[in-house]
């Protein structure tokens, strides 16, 4: 398929949701068309009430090759989790 239009990443906020979640990508000529395409492709089953689109080229990502140096060091730092506090009995659902 010949498709010269740039790629866009789509983020949808659901009715109950507070944040926009990445749902996928699509092709569109401009931002407005991207929003309409997103409406047609990603909200036809009432998935959302708000749409963000951003051109994929504007998203910068971490390099998977760096994963070891980036994420492994956190492995043995359990003390960074707030699990060492004694919670008062009155606090429920924590």
């Amino acid at each position: 398929m010949n498709n010269d239009e740039p790629l866009w990443e789509v983020f949808i906020r659901s009715k109950q949701g507070l944040d926009h979640k990445h749902v996928g990508s699509l092709h569109a000529a401009d931002a407005q068309m991207a929003i309409e395409n997103a409406r047609d492709v990603y909200t036809r089953r009432m998935e959302g009430v708000s749409i963000w689109v951003v051109e994929s080229k504007n998203i910068h990502s971490s390099n998977p090759d760096d994963a070891a140096s980036m994420y492994d060091p956190a492995n043995d730092k359990v003390y960074r989790h707030p699990t060492f506090y004694n919670l008062p009995d009155e606090l429920k659902h924590m």
Binding site: M1, H27, N37
Partner: protein
């Protein structure tokens, strides 16, 4: 009056159904995935509108049958009880009252877009009036449909601009589409007998009164698309759809759409 209301409701139902069916032909054939889904969504919206109208028409027809026996009815003599399905699948071309613009062939993407734009802008102004109908059911269907059509109009307007003000080829194609589809726009604003009667009772929309608003909208979008608004007086307008006189295209649509129910009556899956 019951006959007029039935004819009017069928006219609205047929118009949405045939347009929806035509657009559904793009499903799986759209120029790209995103537009394939977009136009399929619009087709489904229209078929949904037609279902609401058919259900109402079926109720009206069955009421008449109950009160007078079936002798005075000019249609559906062969049916015991009308349903939305019997009205969609078991009436012949001469009984369909859809606007001609809904049945003409899709052509290329430019032609489909342009006829959808003409049709959606008509529906947009039409439903804005129909929500004030003295018939509560028609008003309710109009209110629901208007939300859908607002999007159809926005989507198709933007595509008209995109194609008209796009590449040399897209401009050439939409110019050709303008020549091919324009003669089918006049009929949308010509009131036929049942509309005139129902307009007096504030049931129907006086469609000739929509023409100016429609023209302004179309002129503006065409201008944005670098296209010339056709000089009207010189162009012959096709009519007849609302009273059952159709182009050669409708028969083929019905053949495909109705085949299953005709060949295997009552078949379900």
């Amino acid at each position: 009056m019951p006959d007029d209301l039935i004819n009017y409701t069928l006219h609205l139902a047929d118009t949405s159904l045939v347009m929806g069916h035509r657009l559904s032909e793009w499903t799986g054939h759209g120029p790209m995935l995103e537009q394939d889904i977009a136009i399929s969504n619009i087709a489904l919206d229209l078929i949904g509108q037609s279902r609401n109208f058919y259900q109402y028409a079926a109720k009206l027809i069955n009421n008449v049958k109950k009160s007078e026996g079936s002798k005075s009815l000019s249609f559906e003599e062969n049916l015991s009880e009308a349903t939305e399905d019997s009205l969609a699948y078991l009436r012949d071309a001469r009984e369909f009252k859809n606007l001609l613009i809904t049945e003409i062939s899709n052509g290329d993407w430019a032609k489909t877009i342009l006829k959808l734009f003409f049709f959606s802008s008509y529906q947009f102004y039409f439903y804005q009036k129909l929500i004030f109908s003295s018939d509560a059911q028609l008003a309710a269907i109009a209110e629901k449909s208007l939300k859908e059509v607002t999007y159809h109009l926005r989507w198709s307007s933007e595509w008209v601009v995109r194609l008209g003000d796009g590449t040399e080829e897209s401009n050439r194609r939409i110019k050709l589409a303008l020549e091919e589809t324009w003669p089918f726009t006049g009929e949308m604003f010509q009131d036929v007998a049942y509309e005139i009667i129902l307009t007096k009772e504030q049931v129907a929309v006086n469609v000739s009164s929509l023409k100016n608003t429609w023209q302004n909208k179309v002129e503006k979008v065409l201008q944005q698309a670098t296209l010339n608004y056709p000089v009207e007086e010189t162009i012959w307008m096709q009519t007849g759809g609302k009273t059952g006189i159709h182009t050669e295209h409708l028969g083929y649509i019905l053949a495909e759409m109705q085949f299953l129910q005709r060949a295997y009556p009552g078949c379900e899956w």
